[in-house]
């Protein structure tokens, strides 16, 4: 839908839209409605039945939720290639495409997200007569699921995160997601991409300096942990952010907390890798080497801890050990890995969103309940 080009609907489309509005408002009996229930087309009749059933269960926002999911599906339609990314550009409705760390195009940002935000603002929580999206857990789940999908597929948007924070400023998941977004902004892909694009002087982008983004990430991870103190992944990521902010002592505390909190293999690998870097920064080389070895034991094909070990040995003057470690890296029995699955470091900036698809699926569940026949 281009700017300045109002949508043009055919007569039949306009009529169906009016009927749909009547279904949403339970106002089919109104004189303003072009059809009565008995005249409805089969699909609209089915929708009317489902909306009625949902209303009987206490949810007056069934059709609105469906509309949100429809817009979500449309917005998600275009998949970028691996190692490509896009990020929104202020609030002007444009989005940059990024390939290999360089800006590669500019296009209009999907209007579907904006429509979805408008619909979400009208959602009433179950049992409530008036719109109050801040008290609706489905709305919260929608923001978390779609936000994670954006991070997993590199369709970044601070507009989206700002909408989520507007409605759920004290939600741990939303804070965590926003912290991860800052972390992504601080990363090399977007820091480089924003430098590669010609913008009119003074034009704001959503991406600040690396240091500011890291500080933003620290604040939001801390807020998430204040709400949910035993969150392994938040400790892990806060630890890495603090390491990048040259606060090795605090980073060590967070990463140790992550290791004590029963991390899964990927989280443990990353925590040991990052803690190794912390110890290296502190000059504790034996401890660093030990941590890198532990990370290697968890993911024997991973490249990053072996490079870390080799470089550490070289730094310590042990060239033979450094070379032997590098040789072991090249000799390891690992097939080419175009998808980057063998080393969790490569997917660090998206792994927090690994359950995005499952969360999106879960949004449909309450809407799939069959009406009584």
């Amino acid at each position: 839908m281009g700017r300045g080009l109002p949508p043009r609907y055919s007569g039949e489309e306009s009529r169906r839209l009016r009927v749909l509005a009547c279904v949403v408002n339970e106002s089919l009996r109104s004189l303003k409605c072009p059809e009565t229930a008995s005249q409805l087309a089969p699909d609209l009749l089915e929708l009317q039945k489902r909306a009625t059933a949902a209303r009987q269960r206490g949810d007056r926002s069934y059709v609105l939720r469906l509309g949100v999911l429809l817009q979500t599906d449309l917005a998600r339609g275009g998949k970028t290639r691996d190692h490509e990314a896009g990020f929104s550009y202020g609030s002007l409705g444009f989005k940059f495409d990024v390939t290999d760390g360089l800006g590669s195009g500019l296009r209009q940002y999907g209007v579907q997200w904006a429509i979805a935000y408008s619909l979400l603002d009208q959602i009433a929580p179950p049992g409530q007569p008036r719109p109050e999206p801040t008290r609706d857990s489905w709305v919260r789940d929608w923001f978390v699921a779609t936000g994670r999908w954006m991070q997993f597929t590199s369709h970044y948007s601070m507009t989206h995160m700002n909408q989520a924070l507007r409605l759920f400023p004290d939600d741990a998941d939303v804070r965590f997601l926003n912290a991860c977004q800052h972390e992504i902004h601080a990363g090399p892909v977007l820091q480089s991409a924003v430098k590669s694009i010609d913008l009119p002087l003074g034009t704001p982008t959503d991406i600040e300096s690396k240091k500011n983004e890291l500080r933003g990430a620290e604040i939001d991870f801390r807020r998430a942990l204040a709400i949910r103190p035993d969150w392994t992944e938040a400790h892990l990521r806060l630890g890495r952010v603090l390491l990048q902010l040259d606060n090795a002592t605090a980073a060590g505390t967070e990463l140790t907390a992550a290791l004590k909190a029963s991390p899964d293999d990927t989280q443990e690998f990353l925590a040991r890798l990052f803690l190794g870097a912390v110890e290296e920064r502190r000059g504790h080389f034996d401890e660093a080497a030990s941590l890198y070895l532990q990370a290697t034991a968890l993911f024997p094909s991973a490249q990053s801890p072996r490079l870390a070990l080799s470089q550490l040995a070289r730094r310590r003057g042990d060239r033979a050990s450094s070379l032997a470690t590098l040789k072991a890296l090249f000799d390891r029995d690992a097939p080419p890995d175009p998808e980057g699955r063998s080393d969790p470091w490569w997917s660090y900036l998206s792994v927090q969103a690994r359950d995005a698809e499952a969360r999106l699926d879960a949004l449909y569940k309450p809407l799939r309940k069959e009406p009584a026949r």
Binding site: H83, D100, A324, L326, G340
Partner: protein, 287 residues
Amino acid sequence: MIRRLLGTFVTASALAAAGFASAQDPVFKSVLEAVRVDALVTSGNDLIKGLTARDFEVLDNGVSQRVDLVSFEELPLNVILAFDMSDSVAGERLEQLQRASGALLSGLRSGDQSALITFSHEVRLAAPLSADVDRVKSALGDTAGSGGTSLGDGVYAGVMLGETDPGRALVIVFSDGVDTTSWLTSEQVLDTAKRSDAVIYGVSVRSKVKPELLNELAAATGGRLQEIERIQNLSKVFVDILNEFRTRYLISYTPAGVARDGWHRLEVRVKGRRATVHARPGYLAGS
């Protein structure tokens, strides 16, 4: 820079970690702790040839050193190609890269060796260091562009590969993007380069983002960064780099009157005549 081999008997298990080929019988090398500096000497646009040890003045942290050895076009070369094989290289760039590498490899002489490191997010030793040029050519033919860019990790591997053999290491790094997936930081890669003898020449496709790491690596090792406008010029760029490297002097001296560890500032001059010396600005000792 510096090959610090004093008292270090390098077994071929280390040296055959060397080239990262399979281990051969142990070969023992005993080399005095010497500092090696690759230097290009010019006057205007002309190379100055025929200089001897007595023509050079070397200051190590400001202390004049006795130059022991100067060789010119004598030692064989170890040419290590470290190539970006990320998404952005796929297509015409890859074809040009393969063609340019072929031209460069054709310029190698008897005794020279070559190797190929490729990096996307993953760093791979596509062809170990050897005199078998066809092996590198064949490996180049098998390459394909995909994935992210671990530029720092790839350069690190290239520099270390240069340490597996006592020959003069020339590391030619080609990248058309920015580092997006390396584990090693720029500081760590630079630290390694400053401890190594390898000279790094960076070749990058010009864009709005300056290839800062490649620039720093080239400056720190006495090499050069070349940003090209058109990928079609790559063959000439590669061949020019090889020819330029061959004409460099290899100056050697045993440091005296200076600390054994830490950063050593280097100044290399030609006595008694106007000349520009292009060499690394220093080295990290203690490794």
